[in-house]
């Protein structure tokens, strides 16, 4: 198979001007991967900066409720509250090796932007984050934090003003700045070596989860659930069990307002994704007959993306990963249960995995062992969640606050 390909997916479809940059990045990545000291340095950094290993929490009340053994992998406990930290800290170490002084990144919900900004602060790098103008509006708290951390946030007003357009804008920066700049891509997508490299850094999730489940449950799980936007948290946890054919993987995409409505971001479960090439790689994209990318929709900004990791597209093709979707409504309902039964505030993205597990558990043989990857925490979603729940107290609070600002 050609380098950087996973079945028919992957590759490096990049402008000629970036060819040399990718050649050098691939080389740096391959050298790091062969150097055991690099991985040890990464583990040490993640242990004392990001609190790893993250726990695998036995969800006692959910287990009793569903009649199964439900375990939750707590990526929400990472530095900045999501699995994104695993990727950015790894790439940060690589940036150090390559001697670059500036990092750029795209962000949708803002989680990857905040994570990149913390990494840049810690490693003393200049940092510019590209974010769709619509997302800047929807995710002000994350914009605030990125700026406080010293990053420059550039609102992107081209295209549909969302994540995919932020990727395009970051690439436009990079074709001019590659000499001193590294592009910290946030997920297991894009041109080779990004899908493979990001998955490698995220594999820390699955490596830990496998040891933890064997210790706690005394056996491998029957099923592992993870939400899939670009696919990095799913790749992270699935890799821990890829060589165990008895473990089933379920990737959960954003069902939005329902697959039939057309307003969703489900590329695989909906069968709507068509083979295409964009953003530097070949995968299944939500696109029209002309090859133009479609608008996507999800209550969770981090899942609102037209493409999907080429590695996951391949694992889907060969039947190793099953794909399903959860609608906005199902996700909000599941989040309520998760909070009230286990005291966990999951991110809306991550709660897609929770919602699908809830939907499937009643149909599984009793006492099945299940792992759900809780890829991030939901504090950042307080505005969206409060709206979805129609919380009157929150509404009054915001109105009062606005009133105070108006007076001052």
């Amino acid at each position: 198979m050609k380098k950087g390909y996973f079945g028919i997916f992957g590759g490096a479809y990049i402008p000629e001007i970036l060819h040399e940059t990718f050649r050098r990045l691939t080389l740096a990545y391959e050298q790091a991967r062969q150097d055991p000291n690099f991985w040890q340095e990464y583990l040490d950094l993640m242990e004392n900066y990001s609190g790893r290993p993250t726990p695998l929490t036995f969800a006692e009340n959910l287990s009793a409720h569903f009649g199964h053994k439900v375990y939750i992998k707590r990526e929400d406990l990472n530095q900045t509250g999501a699995h994104k930290a695993n990727n950015v800290m790894g790439q940060g170490l690589l940036v150090r090796r390559m001697g670059k002084k500036r990092v750029i990144a795209e962000t949708g919900a803002g989680q990857h932007g905040v994570a990149t900004a913390t990494m840049a602060a810690r490693m003393g790098l200049e940092c510019v984050i590209y974010m769709g103008a619509k997302d800047v509006e929807r995710q002000r708290p994350n914009v605030f934090w990125m700026q406080q951390l010293g990053a420059t946030v550039v609102p992107v007003t081209s295209g549909s003003c969302i994540l995919k357009d932020a990727i395009n804008e970051a690439l436009r920066d990079w074709v001019g700045s590659m000499d001193d700049t590294h592009y910290v891509l946030g997920t297991a997508c894009g041109a080779h070596p990004f899908p493979e490299m990001v998955s490698w850094f995220q594999s820390i999730i699955g490596i830990e989860a496998r040891q933890q489940i064997l210790k706690q449950a005394g056996r491998l799980p029957h099923r592992v659930y993870a939400c899939v936007g670009g696919g990095s948290n799913a790749m992270g946890i699935f890799q821990g069990f890829l060589d165990d054919p008895q473990v089933d993987f379920i990737g959960v995409e954003a069902g939005g307002e329902g697959i039939a409505s057309g307003r969703h971001a489900s590329r695989l479960a909906s069968n709507a994704g068509r083979l295409g090439i964009a953003h530097g790689y070949r995968t299944l994209f939500l696109q029209d007959d002309d090859g133009q990318m479609r608008e996507t929709h999800s209550v969770a900004a981090g899942l609102d993306y037209v493409g999907v990791s080429p590695i996951l597209a391949h694992l889907h093709n060969i039947g190793r990963v099953r794909f399903a979707s959860a609608s906005d409504q199902e996700v909000v309902a599941a989040l309520k249960i998760l909070m009230q039964k286990e005291g966990l505030i999951g991110a809306l993205e991550s709660t897609h995995a929770v919602a699908r597990a809830f939907a499937e558990m009643p149909h599984m043989p009793k006492d099945s062992v299940i792992i759900i990857n809780l890829s991030g925490r939901g504090d950042k979603d307080i505005f969206t969640i409060a709206d979805a729940l129609g919380d009157p107290g929150w509404r009054t609070f915001i109105l009062d606050k606005a009133h105070q600002y108006q007076k001052s």
Binding site: A12, P15, G280
Partner: protein, 261 residues
């Protein structure tokens, strides 16, 4: 490999008596196909000898803000690839100059690489520029150009300042028609200083291929074009013409081009 006899595009470039040729760039459907037609009339009347027509794509990663916005607005106005291809076919008939298609890989892929290229060849298009399909991935597309093009449809390669000499040579060996030289890092539209660095880059390009060179990215004024005389066969003017069209209309584009040489 290098064609035994030069292609139609290359012959047309080599036979021109002008010391430097201008290649212009239009985004189809922006602001409308009717306006595209008016601008092309004006360009051809002003002596522009090669025109590059861009089929819009929703993810134009290699384009700067002006052309990216043109892509987006054309699509927002309902541009369809089929209409665009018909417009290109008419343009080839209407103007006595070579027409080149520029677009992104996914547009070809949606139609099928081979059917797209076969159709472009049948229409009489003289070249294809696809900036996100690097040489390593372009094998089949180049093959299709040779199969259907009969030495009349060139797969146009790109040279950039970050391309090492060894790779320039690899790209240059199989080049035909013209080679598109990207004058500097960054995207289209910003101004380029045509300083000794650019001239050194042009010399590297010249050593790597016998195919005519077209230099683009940031060519905006008569002065720019003059400084390229005798250095490259073609100067590519894209963003500047789109800006003039928007601010001063189609006729102004004609006098702009007439004043460049």
């Amino acid at each position: 490999m290098h064609a035994a006899t030069p292609s139609l595009l290359e012959t047309c470039i080599r036979n021109s008596p002008d010391p430097i040729l201008l290649m212009s760039h239009l985004v189809l459907g922006y602001p409308s196909l009717e306006e595209n037609r008016k601008v092309m009339d004006a360009m051809v009347a002003a002596g522009v000898p090669i025109i590059e027509l861009q089929i819009p794509f929703s993810e134009p990663i290699a384009d700067g803000p002006v052309i990216a916005r043109a892509n987006q607005e054309s699509l927002a106005n309902g541009f369809r690839v089929e209409t665009g291809l018909n417009f290109i076919a008419e343009s080839v008939q209407r103007y006595p100059i070579p027409i080149i298609i520029m677009t992104y890989t996914n547009i070809l892929m949606a139609q099928g690489f081979d059917p797209f290229i076969q159709r472009a060849a049948a229409m009489g298009v003289r070249g294809l520029i696809v900036p996100d399909l690097p040489l390593e991935e372009a094998g089949d597309a180049i093959q299709s150009c040779q199969t259907h093009g009969n030495n009349q449809l060139d797969w146009i390669r790109l040279f950039t300042p970050t391309t090492p000499d060894s790779r320039l040579e690899l790209l240059g060996q199989g080049a035909s028609g013209l080679v598109y030289c990207v004058a500097r890092r960054g995207v289209t539209g910003r101004h380029t200083e045509f300083d000794p660095q650019v001239m050194a880059f042009i010399n590297r390009c010249r050593s790597a291929t016998r195919t005519p060179l077209a230099l683009g990215f940031g060519v905006r004024s008569r002065e720019d074009v003059q400084s390229l005389r005798g250095k490259v066969e073609i100067a590519v003017v894209g963003t500047a013409a789109i800006e003039i069209h928007l601010s001063r209309g189609a006729e102004a584009v004609g006098s702009f081009f007439a004043g460049l040489r």
